[in-house]
Each structure stands twice: as structure tokens, then as C-alpha cells.
Symmetry: C2
């Protein structure tokens, strides 16, 4: 009876994500976005919606692909402490090698405070990382790989908390070594 949508919606959202990643929500114009996505604004409004809906889909796309990557990364590691270390080191690598910092963190500080829908996506992303790590932390405590006498909840928060500061540090100093040293110290403290 009728035509189908011509463009690949997931690919288009991924291109939009790149623009938001680089310019931020307020810094990205609809012209920037449609140009990068390779579609006309009428197609965009007909399928995805307005700028805000596009942004929501873009950050969801970002967080969901990160979740998949994280799950894959840790699936066949036997020692929970080693898995935590691997997660920390992978974060350090990403922080010190990707050009654009983290879209979730940028979004948190730019718009999450005043935007409930965005905040929900960010919170879900955070909760995923939290659940992923707390499982490992609990097992590591059970196995006595972590000897610090603290509850797993606080310790998980404590570990996750470092990543944001490392991002900030790398934006300001562009010094990989400083971050690697901090990560090493964190791991030592968990292992001791």
C-alpha cells in the first residue's frame, strides 16, 4: 500500500549521537544533526520526533551499547577481583584514548538537573554499572579477595565514583600517567 522509511533509523541516531557527543545538547543545532544524519528534517520529524526525543534516543543508544560491551568484557573471568580490575583498567583505557570524554557524564552536568526524562536514562545507566560491579564486589568479599572491612554498597559507589574525576582530569591535563597512577592506587587499596 505504501512506501517504507528509506533511511536506517539506528544508523541515523548513531550519527546524531556523535554530534551531541561533540557539541552537547544545547550546542548541537538541528542543521548540524540532520546534516550528519544525512536526512531531511521532515523525515526526522516524521519518524523520530523533535530535538529532545532525538537526544533521548541518542543517549539511550550510547548507554545501551556501553552496557553490552561491559557485559561481554567480563563474562568469562573467574576471579571477581580480577574482573573488577579489568573493568577499572578498561575504563582508564577508554578515558585516556577516546577524544570526546563520556557522553553520559557530559549530559549529567549539562542537562540532567533540569530534565527528568534525561535524568531517568542517566540513572538507569548508572544503576546498570552499579549492579554489574556490586555482584563482583560481593563475591570478592566472600572469597576474601577484598579484605577492606566495608559494606559492598559503599565500596561499589566508591569505585564507580573515580571514573568521573578521571574524565575531568584528562580533559584538563591530558596526562595519561596521572590517571594510571590513581587507578593503580585504587586497585592496590582494594587488593591489600
Amino acid at each position: 500500500m505504501a512506501r517504507n522509511v528509506e533511511f536506517d533509523e539506528q544508523l541515523a541516531i548513531s550519527k546524531a549521537m556523535d554530534v551531541f557527543w561533540k557539541k552537547g545538547y544545547n550546542g548541537a543545532s538541528m542543521r548540524d544533526l540532520t546534516e550528519a544524519m544525512g536526512i531531511n528534517s521532515s523525515s526526522l520529524y516524521n519518524t523520530i520526533g523533535d530535538k529532545h526525543q532525538l537526544f533521548l534516543k541518542a543517549i539511550k543508544h550510547y548507554t545501551e551499547s556501553r552496557m553490552e560491551a561491559a557485559k561481554k568484557q567480563l563474562q568469562q573471568i573467574t576471579s571477581p577481583l580480577k574482573a573488577i580490575e579489568k573493568y577499572i583498567n578498561a575504563s582508564v583505557y577508554t578515558i585516556t584514548n577516546e577524544p570526546n570524554s563520556c557522553l553520559a557524564i557530559k549530559t549529567t552536568f549539562e542537562v540532567a538537573t533540569g530534565d527528568a526524562e534525561v535524568q531517568k536514562v542517566i540513572k538507569a545507566d548508572n544503576e546498570f554499572t552499579y549492579q554489574l560491579l556490586i555482584g563482583l564486589v560481593q563475591k570478592a568479599i566472600e572469597k576474601k579477595e577484598i579484605k577492606v572491612s566495608q559494606d559492598a554498597e559503599m565500596l561499589t559507589d566508591y569505585i564507580i565514583n573515580h571514573f568521573t574525576g578521571w574524565h575531568e582530569s584528562f580533559i584538563i591535563h591530558q596526562d595519561k600517567t596521572r590517571i594510571k597512577k590513581m587507578a593503580q592506587f585504587l586497585i592496590e587499596q582494594l587488593s591489600q
Copy 2:
């Protein structure tokens, strides 16, 4: 021979700072700004300059007043470790009680990556905190108040690094207790 500027420039910049603090650089319009500052845009362009120059003055105003407050706060504390603890606890209080998160951090993630002048201001602010704390950390190591066998530079970085994550955590969860627990754990680790 001629008139003087009618408005109080420092007060006007302070008002502009509040707008940038709440809306971000890209989110704040010149109309938002001049309205809050209580001056006409022609006066603004005649004295302070354009939006970018105004922003630079606003974040300088922010960082300079924080520096003064920090110096005052620590001036008559004898134990260096106690001074570090006080600084950490004061940060926790600010993070969990101010409504707008930290302007310097927001700026870092929104514009510092692509704006050299802004980055310079942010870097200077960071360097001030670093110098303030490293003095205390070195003294604390000398006095054996801190027993962790690590160099003072890394340890200073490590301490400062927590604050950004605490800000992020409070934006997402609005949970004071989580942050207080992390701060307490950090202090314990330094003291042990």
C-alpha cells in the same frame, strides 16, 4: 569631561554567573543575561564585551571567590591531616547543599574541551586546589599523620579526584548519605 559607568560591574558579573551556573554557556541567552544583570546590551558590549568575554569573567569570578573561601577556611588549623579532613568535609557540605552543582565542573564538561581560554581558567582553578592540598599532604606525610606509602603528588590527585564524582552522584541520586559514606571511607584510608 564625561560620564562614568552607572552600574556595578562586579555585581553584574556575579548576576551573569548565576545565569551561566543554572543554564550553562550555550543554554544562557544574552537576553537571559542582560535581564538578570539589569543592564542594556549596549552597556554590556561597551564595558564587558561579548558573550564569551562575559563568560570568562563570570567563571573567573566563580573560581576566585572559591579560592578566597578555601584559603580562609584552612588558615588556622595546626594538624595538616585535620586540615585535609576539613577540606573534604566542607566539599561534601557544599556538594550536598548547593542547588546548582559546581560551575567549574559543568564548564569543564560543556565547553572546556573546545575552548582554550576557558580551559586556562579551569586549569588555574584546579592548580590552586592542587597546590593548597599538596602542601598539607606533604606535611601530613612528614608528620606521619598519613602512613600510606605513596608520593604526595599522586595522593593529592587522588583526593581531589573524588569531588567530581560526588557531584555527579548527587545530581543523579540526591542522596547525601551515599556521599558522606564515601567521604568517611576516604578519610579513614588516609588516616590508617
